[in-house]
Amino acid sequence: MATATAPLATQLEELSSDEILRYSRHLILPEVALEGQQRLKASRVLLIGAGGLGSPLALYLAAAGVGTIGLVDFDVVDVTNLQRQIVHGTKDVGRPKLESARDRLKDMNPHVHVEGYETRLTSENALEIVRDYDIVIDGTDNFATRYLTNDACVILGKPNVYGSIYRFEGQSSVFATENGPCYRCLYPEPPPPGLVPSCAEGGVLGVLPGLVGTIQATEGIKLLLGIGEPLIGRLLLIDALSMQFRTMRLRKNPECPACGTREIRELIDYDQFCGIGGDPLQDPHGIPEITPSELATKQQRRDDFDLIDVREPHEWAIARIPGARLVPLGAFTESLSSFDSARDIVVTCKMGGRSAKAVRQLQAAGFKRVWNLAGGILRWSDDVDPTVPKY
């Protein structure tokens, strides 16, 4: 187990009497005390993402008195975010997440300075943004940005407090410290696009980013203060369903191109590294598509065709397109014999990704007249029938 490292926040900044009162419960902790609180005030922490993990992270770091919190996010608040993204409120729907988070953090603690970067973190801007911070906390929602964050941290020698979540499970660790492992030591390469569904497709328990984000915030504060045993060289696995926490040994890989051999000296094209472009979700090349409006016309004309919905039964219970038949993607292969190759087949799902896979399976099985419903049931609701609820 890694022992306490030297405090990352090396500067001290004077506290006003208002701040001394506010941070009273920290100041009476011998492990923090006046000096630790002054370190926190002088410290700079960069959060990648102001979403599920970023919400509790930003709130607790601001409450704790971290002097400067950088936020990187280019998204706007959507009503489906509010089930877990507690830094935003109902009144903020439609606002940029940065503005919404900044207002909430200023209310939480006016002594904290919030620096916003309303941009996607890219290979072009990452080093410039990360350079000015003591610690980076990875709360992003995709593999490409995770590898980008990791490599930027390794190149610049900034600790990367990692957390990721899916459904009921989470992971956390501290990467890219001087002698510790990095994200690439844990996962040398990302899965191909589409293999691991996003939280938008697979779902996530709203409390889970709270569990994992507060662990990341704890690790960040420990690193800044140089107290306790950080999660360096350990991977924490969190299972909310069984409520079990396990730690696995994580070793620095001497062959790691980032932190081992250090052959990665500059940032690469992370979309290409993650295979984005070959994904049917991103690149529908070769998959015949039909728009919701075209499908509605086809239905009105009473064309002879089958509409197959490949979502899960619990999604089918939320919303469906009239006339569709449910064949979940998991059971699709076994159901191929139930389809009539002489008839036209339109396949749909929530957003068009899973149905694209089903179309490919049908094509591979020799079906010629198959179409993917572009944008799935969400676009059907936007373009054709708003009474079909979006989820």
Partner: protein, 90 residues
Amino acid sequence: MAVTLFLPTVLAKLADGRAIESNGDTVGAVVADVAARYPGLAPRLRDETGQPYPFVTFYLNDEDIRFNGGFDAKVSDGDELTVVPAIAGG
């Protein structure tokens, strides 16, 4: 050797649950046994040639098998093998 393989919830539905009892002398043999019994799970555990993926980490007890011979790592009676696929949600 009798070994228990633990799956994350997301893969458990492709098997009979989260804990699968299996047998084999190496991690690779255990994975091959489980893959043969659960064909739907097989492609999530290893590639078509039977080799591990770079985005699915196997822990033998609490050690990453990559530092211990990979799928050739020897297992002992009562060992626990835990599958930890990469996730990216945030």
